[in-house]
């Protein structure tokens, strides 16, 4: 009995029935408030392997390996599932870039089992928008890190980003200091810049946590006064220099 709105019991029964009929090797769910409730239940009832909030998933030989961030995101842990024919995984949001290319898959119907939902959908409340901008959707980003030095210096980089048509982002210390809103933070505990094509990192050292949110970007331009900074290991273009001087140069070129 599929319903218009989400019903945990109905979804759980439908996925279990599908799993029974199709014997999938993996069932992927988005890691969301809906699936927190029912995906582990599907795994338990089906006797499947399970890992939640995975940030990567791959086959190592024939074996499925899921990657989770643990110890307050300080470590990445690989999980395997010996002798599980089916594995349930919930996939962290803002990690995988949606595929744009369309296809033409076969379409079939599957009758979901009759299920008595224990909950009733009454109304939908639109969540309040908290961030001032959605950096996960930005195509051109200019991010500042601790190299910016002081809060009053941030504004000039905001103006520079605006004048270039870029969205201003930052590393975590900048958001933690309250110099920019948390919604602008790029990285593991911030956002992944899923749609970004060009990423300019100014005064950012390139911690693993920061790179987790931007290393996939095809054109990364790093500006750092330390030639040994890790950010240069993933940058397509690198400038060893002072971010304020480079900003001044850019202003001269584009104003």
């Amino acid at each position: 009995m599929p319903v218009a709105s989400f019903q945990s019991d109905v979804y759980e029964a439908a996925v279990l029935a599908l799993a029974e009929a199709r014997k999938p090797a993996v069932i992927l769910f988005p890691h969301s408030v809906d699936t927190w409730g029912y995906a582990p239940a599907v795994a338990m009832r089906g006797g499947f392997g399970c890992a939640t909030d995975v940030i990567d998933v791959k086959y190592d030989g024939g074996d499925l390996v899921a990657v989770r961030a643990v110890y307050a995101e300080k470590l990445h842990m690989e999980v395997d599932f010996p002798e599980r024919e089916t594995v349930v995984l919930t996939v962290r949001t803002n990690v995988f870039k949606p595929t744009e290319a369309d296809g033409s898959p076969a379409v079939s119907e599957f009758a979901a089992p009759q299920t008595q939902a224990r909950t009733e959908h009454i109304t939908y409340i639109e969540p309040e928008q908290t961030g001032d901008v959605d950096i996960s959707q930005a195509e051109y980003m200019l991010s500042v890190g601790r190299g910016v030095g002081e809060e009053e210096n941030v504004e000039q980089f905001k103006e520079l980003a605006d004048s270039l048509g870029f969205t201003l982002g930052c590393s975590r210390p900048i958001a933690d200091n309250g110099w920019l809103p948390k919604s602008r933070q790029v990285g593991q505990s911030g956002k992944t810049v899923v749609k970004c094509k060009v990423y300019v990192a100014m005064g950012i050292s390139g911690s693993v946590q920061h790179m987790a949110g931007m290393k996939h970007v095809p054109s990364i331009i790093a500006i750092n006064k330390d030639a040994e900074a890790s950010i240069f290991t993933i940058a397509k273009y690198g400038v060893v220099g002072d971010m304020f001087e480079i900003a001044e140069e850019l202003r001269g070129h584009f104003s």
């Binding site: 218009a4 699936t35 803002n94 870039k97 369309d102 076969a106």
Partner: protein, 61 residues
Amino acid sequence: MTGEILVAVEHRQGALSPASLETIAAAIELKGDTDRSIAVAVIAEKPDDFVAQVSKAGVDE
């Protein structure tokens, strides 16, 4: 290798969630060079409404 990759997507107010499209992308990446197929399941009263949205290159059913 046998066994497909099944993706269970979700929707709200008649719209597929962005996270669902990301999960389909994860499935496509996982499929990679394997010969596994990808099936996307839409659990809904009118699943047809979502067919076009989940019909991404790399999805088989």
